[in-house]
Point group: C2
Chain length 219, copies 2
């Protein structure tokens, strides 16, 4: 080709380390969310990041380290978003409601982050499982505290039919699955999604089929 002559060597402009690290992490999250941990190649990540491979190793370490960095960053973002949405002075149901809305807001805004956290990090055992367990543990803790406080205020103790942790696990799982389902049914709004869950969790089937409805109060 004629215009190959004197083609610039395409060497990337020199940028401060912090900027490159962000670029690399962004690219990594995207590629990991697309192909999963194992199928994602360092070469592809470097290409997407617009940087050569050794830079990644120099800045963020080996593949495992890189993935860990991704998980930590995204988990931090998610947790922050949810906690920012919760208003501790409101009654339990409204707290849950706001938490759920923040959660689905995050998922909507950062699909790739959510995919990495939920679909990818679970499978690969080892160091990652621990990190994800920590995140989910914090979510469960949050919900559990809510449930237990609501329950014990009424004098309800743990028994065979009721376990704060068990219910929290179930609730978090339901929220996660619905988020996952949402990825393929994006025509539903985040508010509607949260509303379904609140109605299921708060009222239960037997009330729902009687036509009862839970709706957020103006707070």
């Amino acid at each position: 080709m004629a215009d190959d002559v004197k083609r610039a060597p395409e060497r990337a402009k020199r940028l401060p380390r912090a900027v490159r690290e962000k670029q690399i992490l962004d690219a990594a999250v995207r590629v990991f969310s697309l192909h999963g941990y194992h199928s994602a190649s360092m070469d592809e990540i470097s290409e997407v990041a617009g940087v050569s491979k050794p830079m990644i190793y120099s800045y963020l370490g080996a593949k495992e380290d890189l993935f860990l960095h991704c998980i930590r960053r995204e988990a931090g973002g998610l947790l922050e978003a949810v906690q920012a949405g919760i208003k501790p002075d409101l009654p339990p149901d409204m707290q849950l409601w706001h938490g759920l809305r923040s959660f689905y807001g995050f998922v909507a805004e950062y699909r790739e982050s959510w995919t990495v956290l939920h679909r990818q990090a679970l499978t690969v055992g080892g160091p990652f499982a621990g990190e994800i367990d920590t995140l989910r543990g914090k979510a469960i803790e949050l919900v559990s505290a809510l449930v237990v406080s609501a329950g014990s205020r009424k004098g309800l103790a743990e028994q065979a039919e009721f376990s704060g942790e068990g219910l929290a696990v179930a609730l978090v799982g339901a929220a996660e699955s619905l988020a996952d389902w949402w990825l393929d049914h994006s025509d539903v709004s985040d508010g509607v999604l949260a509303s379904w869950l609140m109605n299921l969790i708060w009222l239960g089937f037997n009330d729902l089929v009687e036509g009862e409805v839970w709706r957020p109060t103006e707070q």
Copy 2:
């Protein structure tokens, strides 16, 4: 060593194809559940199966095919177990109750099957995702039918606060998460697990904290 003399060459005894296939599938499920799809090596599977590698390729095809065979077999088993437990003449809550018990019964008995189906097959995209979607789709359909029939019998239409499919997704997700959590908290019995979920789903938080309890009727 002295007793190495005249050591038999350890050639496997000749067995009919069907038997070997089962051995291989069993080994594959175990290894996949242990390390995940990518980290599982065909060599390890062949070793666990007590058979050499080419046999696997000859009987069950390449790695992908092998994994697909595993998923299909285990999914079939799970679905069969759950459907066998459901008694269509009972009221909706009791149907759900029996379905849940069967489900947790299966998970307890075939931990490895469950791990492969839930943790491994999800991550790896491609042909497997479809297979798993089908399974989960059937579960959701089952639950959805239950919910919708219960709802429409009362004249409850789909609306912003209520979606049969949405609730089914949430319920199935809650059940899955609880199953997963159970793997690390095996001191709880399957009945208790199912009971937690029934109480959450059927009564909802607001009734639970008032001290209400759902219990199976004698059927």
